[in-house]
């Protein structure tokens, strides 16, 4: 199994979810994160003091899927999350060696269905 971690713009979450839905990925876990990278932060001002906050609001999506499903899913996320502007984000892939569905105790890829 593979874990796909996608860090995307918050405004793209709805689009990415819709894209995943379309290709039949029903389960995922989402969290608010802050990212820094090439994208420049917005400057903030507090009583005339400047702060350039380069931690920007991002959303991270984690999906664990059978190994073979990973490629099209990465594709789909990539397409849905892209604006072409700096700051679109990254997708990371890593191996997952086990999965359990707590409710049923099912293990492995069946736990993901």
């Amino acid at each position: 199994m593979m874990k796909i971690e996608a860090i995307i713009r918050p405004s793209k979450l709805d689009d990415v979810k819709a894209a995943l839905d379309e290709i039949g990925v029903a389960g995922m876990t989402v969290m608010h994160v802050m990212g820094c990278g090439k994208q420049r932060g917005r400057t903030q001002y507090y009583r005339g003091q400047e702060y350039t906050v380069n931690l920007l609001d991002k959303v991270k999506i984690e999906v664990v899927v059978p190994k073979d499903d990973a490629a099209p899913i990465v594709e789909a996320i990539s397409k849905a999350a892209s604006t072409g502007e700096i700051g679109d984000g990254k997708i990371f892939l890593s191996e997952v060696s086990g999965a359990v569905r707590i409710r049923t105790g099912e293990q492995g890829a069946t736990a993901l269905r």
Partner: protein, 443 residues
Amino acid sequence: MDRQSVLPFSRKGVGAVAVTPIATLVLAGSASAQDGASQISAGDTAWVLASAALVMLMTPGLGLFYAGMVRRKNALATILQSFIMVGVIGIQWVVYGYSLAFAPGNAFIGGLSWLGLRGVGQEAGPYSDTIPHLAFMIYQAMFAIITPALITGAFAERMRFKAFLIFMLLWATIVYDPVAHWVWGKGGWLGAMGALDFAGGTVVHICSGVAALCCALMLGRRHGYGRDEMMPHGIWMTVVGAALLWFGWFGFNAGSALGANGLAANAFVVTNTAAASAALSWMFFEWLHRGKPTALGAASGAVAGLVAITPAAGFVGPMAAIAIGAIVGVLCYLAIMAKSRLGYDDSLDVFGVHGVGGTWGAIATGLFASTAINSAGANGIFFGNAALLGKQVVAILAVFAYSFVVTAILLKITGLISPLRVTKDDEETGLDLSQHGEVAYNL
């Protein structure tokens, strides 16, 4: 002399004031009669000043009410759009707005004789014998402040701050001030005709509600409208805002009696009653329709009830208030349902609540008004006088037409100076960061 020896301040003849050039300027708004203060009623003045404070609080209260309904990234900008109105109109009013609206003029607009509050002093003015003219002026200022603030809900989450400031200053001057004169100013044509508007159903609510509709149509929808979930970021805040509005509205309506008397008490009672009634009717109607009674519904209903009773507060009794409130709760809910069909993006339903609610209130005044409540008012249809309703309808139509058309023109003019909307990117980032370089929360 210190403050204590000042009080109780005896008004001896003022004597020769050494008039340096600047003195002429800074004394505007103070000079005139020191005598005649004797007829001022401390009780009435206490109530009107307290009411002015209450109405002032409504504007930031409105800011909270609205901010709770926007997304987090626009929360601060939304509060600020209300808050800064206290600044902008607070100055506009004392410099020339009050004069335009209330100074002697013709049927359509006041004059320039009270520019810079010249002649508006501590003694009673032409609008009341028992309170200082300055008290009347500042009480009215608070109405002039909240009216444009109400509009901000229509273009929430997308208007450029610079364009917003320009538009609001224009709007207050060219829409609000004349309309206030029509209804409340000495010689204003709607007032002279006999249309009744106790505390601003037409002047404040219809006028701002219609302008809001115009803004929503002309600015267009928010990006992602209809596709993204644009859920309120803090309904608790909206409920608190509604509570502050309710609290302040006692000053708005009962203060409009311009004295602490039976009429004020009546206005206070019907205000509370209509708000209560509409909070319940909206909540129960939504419960029937959707299966859940919501806090947002109760809060919205309360505001709708307060809007509807505003023109009627000094002319109807408590049982009429129950009816007015019960009806407005359902009416506004339906209006908002209709909006989602029609597809324009009046983001926080200013027209649905203030336009529709204010219109119903003006009509209801024509139905339920009774001279038994206020002998200086008039009877409505239920008391055998159909004429009043006609006048109310004329007032409604006049304000609808004027506000809509002039708002549209002013938006066009503003658009020549600055783009009305922020860029798509800025809209996505949120107004807090893009317009103000701040965020509401750093949790």
